[in-house]
Symmetry: C2
């Protein structure tokens, strides 16, 4: 049975302050809960409808998580989903250490991407393009925000990340930094690209002036109409797609 204290505890995890204090976050909905149960995470609690619990008995018991049965209505009151007829899991954060630049790949760096939906979508895109490493400025949305987890569609289980002063990280790595600007080199006209950092800026202000001098290659997505800009997640996807094409071509 779902106790008042458990309800209070899960609801506190909507806030970053309590997530950090407890070093836990929550995951909701069938797809994401199944992804996290199948991945390498420590899960302390699964709140599930009877139907979900029955269908996934082995998976849940293998996780050693406490199982609490709940109604759909209760699940919906705990999380942020308007509709959740399956489950919600409380999961331990993993320790996230700075990583070295991966020898043969790309890293996505985000300079103050504030919208959790954008961050989650970018994580999903990174996972699609096989980019496993991301680095975020301190003001970027919190990776464990429920909306980030939701919009990553399970891809949050497959990426590494850390928060840092991006300028110092880039200096340390000493690799090309491709920054998305409106006045850079047209990505359709590039012939080859070396592994490096794909740097995307804030939704309203783009890449900060302070970081602009760390950019070694300014690149631009060519526009053919009148829209002033593209959403940052859309722009990330288009750069990843072009860079992967150029790396393999």
């Amino acid at each position: 049975m779902l106790s008042k204290n458990t309800v209070k505890f899960i609801k506190s995890l909507h806030q970053k302050k309590f997530r950090n204090q407890e070093q836990k976050f929550f995951v909701e909905g069938e797809k994401s809960v199944l992804e996290v149960l199948n991945a390498d995470f420590r899960i302390s609690l699964v709140v599930a409808t009877e139907a979900f619990a029955e269908k996934n008995t082995t998976l849940i018991s293998r996780s050693n998580a406490q199982l609490i049965l709940a109604t759909q209505h209760q699940l919906e009151s705990l999380g942020q989903y308007q509709s959740n007829d399956s489950a919600l899991a409380v999961v331990d954060m993993k320790a996230n250490h700075p990583f070295e630049f991966p020898a043969d790949g790309f890293v996505i760096a985000l300079d103050d991407v504030r919208d959790p939906g954008n961050l989650g979508t970018i994580i999903r895109i990174a996972d699609w393009y096989g980019i496993k490493n991301l680095v975020f400025s301190a003001q970027t949305a919190d990776f464990y925000n429920p909306k980030v987890i939701q919009s990553s569609m399970g891809s949050f289980t497959r990426v590494s990340f850390f928060y840092a002063d991006l300028d110092s990280v880039f200096k340390n790595w000493n690799v090309p930094v491709y920054g998305a600007f409106l006045d850079g080199k047209n990505v359709h006209e590039l012939n080859h690209i070396s592994p490096g950092v794909i740097l995307m800026g804030n939704e309203s202000n783009g890449i900060s002036q302070a970081l602009e001098k760390s950019v070694t290659n300014k690149v631009t997505i060519p526009g053919f109409g009148e829209a002033e800009s593209l959403n940052v997640a859309i722009a990330t996807a288009i750069l990843c797609d072009n860079f992967k094409r150029l790396t393999l071509g």
Copy 2:
């Protein structure tokens, strides 16, 4: 002054039924209201803060719209924005007639894209890539939904569209129909592309079986990681980017 009846009227426009009955929709926030004031739309009403009204006196009076001053708090209670310190405009829908296939371009067709945020983002992408014409299945989200207008970031003023039975439209046009599937031709490996329809499917189910036989060219965005899929707006952007590159190349 904002009367009770005006408040009730604007709030009714959150619902498709009343939008269709009145043949009006609303636009909110500084950027979108300025875009619509500068575009070729008939605007019946502008509700604005004193600051916005003073800054845009000429533009508002030129529109012949009635101007009602309101507080930020009132504006926020009328629309769907959490924060709106500028304006909201009530705008006449335009008559949307079926168009012929544009001789030298692409058309984006959406088969039951249900999420208004996705539809708005796709309209913004179309505008970025200079694709001015879109056609939607009957079950696709309503173009005039406030969330569509919001996420199109003003691009809704620059596209033509109509709702129709897609199968009949494609037959009538008799042009290539490029459909996004998981088992199509890798878009990175295409050498040339002819103008045609870019067909995108529903968020959960993709392109419907009934419509699959209208697709003349199945295309696929290559994946390199483990994500199962891409969001439909992201996939649209990547296809538009590749198709524009191939058309010009």
